[in-house]
Symmetry: C2
Subunit: 532 residues, 2 copies
């Protein structure tokens, strides 16, 4: 970037291009490393101000979705450029607000702008429109067929909830915003109140791109509000047509209930709760017990365990071989030091979750790491239990958001399969094995396919590649809608719906479906995919 872009953080919402002082009180974020308040306070919007944002989004929809692929792609790329142009102050603010290290924030920032550019490429290429043409068959018997064409359009204005654990990649300019804008939907982001300054900076970058492209101001708004109430009002607003959320199971299910109770129910993509089981097979332990142990502990403690894909459940064979692995992992864990968690509240909830597990019958602590030197930096913990206890006690499937994991020791393939069948829906399942384990693994795979969105081999679930084949999703309660992914280019599908056009004069057809194919799309003709 040649020019830098340095908006001042004011704590005001950005409603359809205007900085708006909220009239429903204030809130203030804390530096989780010190528990000190961060300036400025944010001003919280009221219902009337919210209605301005959603009305502007609705008014912007038809104009925005009429942009060409080239225009919309360039707009997404400009957002990425503008986020780049925010320079070091964005990283510094995000570090202050989240307690995450600068290197992690910079990596997440690269992911965020890369994601925007990926969707620009998707939009420019155009396959997401899924254009289909069934030409007229005037001579067909017994009845002629009229010309029918189909394309996908955006659902309408989308509400996106910023996530606590990814202040950039799953927040203001994150995955849901990128895919919704790519699909032609205006976006209203409800900022996470733990990182409002980060949200505001990125919000300015998006608003600036909206202005630079002369788009209607309602294409994007960023709002600060009292967490639960304004969020529920946003989901209930009749102008909102879909919701993207990343957060707790309680938050997600509350949004699902509100969306389902609307006069017009709307789709909700809530990514909520996952404990990401890991299945360790004998071959893997035999192969390299040390790498396996340090790999697990690294994945478990990465980012203070605050990843949706944190491996919270590890099935390990009983017997001396499994004991050896547990001992090696315990040894690796004991020398780890806790990192600052995202908020005081998250650290407290982690502590409560760990305390609850300490009190569960048939659950024992096998290792504890060191707490960190800052506030809100608890040490990691590893527990152990049996497959019987795991299957009988649904509490053991409750996500502890943080660096806490449970070993489940299994005696047989049957126990392993029964435990897998007892799993709730998950984002991921990971298998560590060698070819010698294939016979045991084969019957496990179909069980896992029914329960998870992504199956991994000899790798770790933390670190979610942003690419065409990624699925970051899964059956409830991992997400509210397993038919979709929140990461990767397939995510554009979640904010679209099909519309078909029967016997429409060519000059009134959308460009994607016109006979001359002005956008050079790959179109499916008579059911067969054709290249442009």
């Amino acid at each position: 970037m040649t020019t830098t872009f340095s908006p001042v953080i004011t704590g005001q919402s950005l409603i359809a291009g205007r900085a708006v002082e909220g009239t429903a009180g204030t809130a203030q974020a804390l530096n989780p490393a010190t528990n000190e308040k961060l300036e400025p306070a944010i001003t919280l919007i009221d219902d009337r101000q919210l209605a301005e944002a959603t009305a502007a989004a609705a008014a912007a929809f038809d104009t925005y979705r009429a942009t060409t692929p080239a225009e919309r792609a360039a707009f997404l790329e400009r957002i990425a450029d503008n986020i780049d142009a925010l320079g070091a102050p964005l990283t510094e603010r995000a570090v202050l607000e989240t307690g995450l290290p600068a290197a992690r924030i910079d990596g997440e920032r690269a992911r965020t702008v890369g994601q925007l550019r990926l969707f620009a490429g998707v939009v420019r290429q155009g396959d997401h429109l899924q254009a289909r043409i069934d030409p007229a068959l005037p001579d067909r018997a017994p009845l002629p067929r009229l010309d029918i064409r189909q394309r996908h359009i955006g659902l309408g204005p989308v509400a996106v909830f910023g996530a606590s654990n990814f202040p950039l990649a799953f927040s203001t300019g994150g995955g849901d915003t990128a895919s919704a804008l790519a699909a032609g939907c205006p976006v209203i982001v409800k900022a996470h109140n733990a990182h409002p300054g980060t949200a505001e900076l990125v919000g300015h970058a998006i608003v600036r791109a909206v202005e630079e492209f002369g788009l209607p101001a309602g294409v994007f708004s960023l709002i600060f509000g009292a967490g639960t109430s304004i969020g529920q009002a946003l989901v209930a607003d009749p102008n909102i047509k879909a919701v993207g959320f990343t957060g707790s199971r309680g938050g997600g299910t509350a949004i699902m209930a509100t969306a389902a109770a609307r006069p017009e129910p709307i789709p909700v993509y809530a990514e909520m709760s996952s404990i990401n089981p890991v299945f360790v097979f004998p071959g893997a332990i035999e192969d390299d017990i040390g790498a396996l142990a340090t790999g697990l502990v690294g994945s478990l403690t990465m980012g203070a365990g605050q990843f949706c894909t944190n491996p919270g459940l590890v099935f390990v064979p009983s017997g001396t071989q499994g004991d050896g692995f547990v001992a090696a992992a315990s040894e690796a864990l004991r020398v780890t030091q806790g990192s600052t968690m995202l908020t005081r509240g998250i650290a407290a909830a982690c502590g409560e979750g760990v305390a609850k597990l300490r009190n569960e019958a048939d659950v024992t602590v096998v290792a504890e790491g060191q707490p960190g030197p800052t506030e809100n930096a608890p040490g990691a913990v590893l527990f152990s239990t049996t497959t019987d206890s795991f299957r009988e006690n649904l509490q053991l499937q409750e996500e502890v958001f943080g660096a806490a994991g449970i070993f489940v020791r299994y005696n047989s393939q049957d126990e392993l399969l029964a435990s897998a069948e007892a799993l709730e829906g998950q984002l991921t399942a990971t298998i560590h094995a060698t070819a010698s384990d294939n016979a045991t693994i084969a019957p496990l795979l179909p069980v896992l396919e029914r329960r998870v969105g992504r199956i991994l081999f000899n790798s770790w679930p933390t670190g979610v590649e942003v690419g065409p084949a990624m699925v970051h999703g899964g059956p409830f309660p991992a997400t509210s809608d397993s038919r979709s992914t929140s990461v990767g280019s397939l995510a554009i599908m979640r904010f679209q719906r099909p519309v078909s056009y029967q016997n429409i004069p060519d000059e009134l057809l959308p460009a994607a479906l016109q006979e001359a194919n002005p956008w050079h799309l790959n179109r499916r003709i008579n059911g067969q995919q054709t290249a442009s």
Copy 2:
């Protein structure tokens, strides 16, 4: 077909291949042309019998979804063959149970088997699996990429509710059953109690195909039960993972509420309520007023108006030209004779809906057709009102299931656009116009795109082509989920979800994703679609 297949109608459910006498009472269908009871009575299953069906479906899922494209396609084709082999007795029974003419039933039967064969072609071709491959990039900086692959799998056992108005095409072996089986999902059909004999005959055809292919018996069940209670229990059953429903708004929203309240909420595809607005422009009236009038009346009265796409709302310009069209349509309607409706209850509800409209302020009757000679064959009715009344009175958007329509007279383009904005979600919107009307139409199209699933020009919405580009769906309350279609090959998507595979050894990958591409699929590699 060389052999005929003549199962006896017993009134028993078909649970995982076994004829089961229900233990929760009996019910009996009526011949709607005479109101006479039809033998035999059906026996209604209880909750325990229901649980057998759903458990068998869950147990069958992994085996069934492991079938190859060739096997699954042949299975769908065999179902079609077996329905053909049911011969004349199927048509005769459906005529008795529905009051629909034999020619209509035969046409619907051709559509039903054609639909099964269409999905066989879709499965054989394989694009629905949406295979994506992002090969490993071991040398990528800063981090290498592991091999990631993605395919779609079936959601799990699907509950399908037979529709009253299509005893074949939207019932036991209809669209939802065909697309769910195509997607690899076992199916449990809750028969519509108005046409149980038809359901049972088709059920036997499917069970026979399951047996002929040696598939697990739980792949298909047909159940008879007390309408509301067993339907709700089916939707609430934890083994059911998705629902397909075609029926009333009340029935559909009750199912949506049950599905959303489950511990694990599931997708519901309910196709419910649509009044399918028609927009008549001056050019069309000028062009051929007679064809336009008889076309409208034909579409309105076809099948006693019992189509989801029945045109119940017709926007007509005010003034003498529009008056002339209303007069011509009225003339055409007055000579029509009512046909037998599907059930006594449906005819009664139609009568109540018409009576309600007669009592609405600012709504006048402009023409009435003749009642038919049988029981339950009311005459058609056309009403008229103004755009102001239409926009103020949401009652006028309530579907009257039957041959009843309302003219809404508009004075200006602004009135027309405001009325379109006031529409609830619809399956279709139809425009009758000539090129001279294009300037008025252009701003209407984006409004309609936001509100409907299919836009038609100079044709009629009744008669839904079963093809790759068809969308039979639309925003609520037309359907519960606008992201999908219930007709056409795109419908297979509704019963699928994506799963990705990271770093999995080739020999453990599903065939669709193996390096050698044994199924010769078109796969998306690094984001680019490639031909096999």
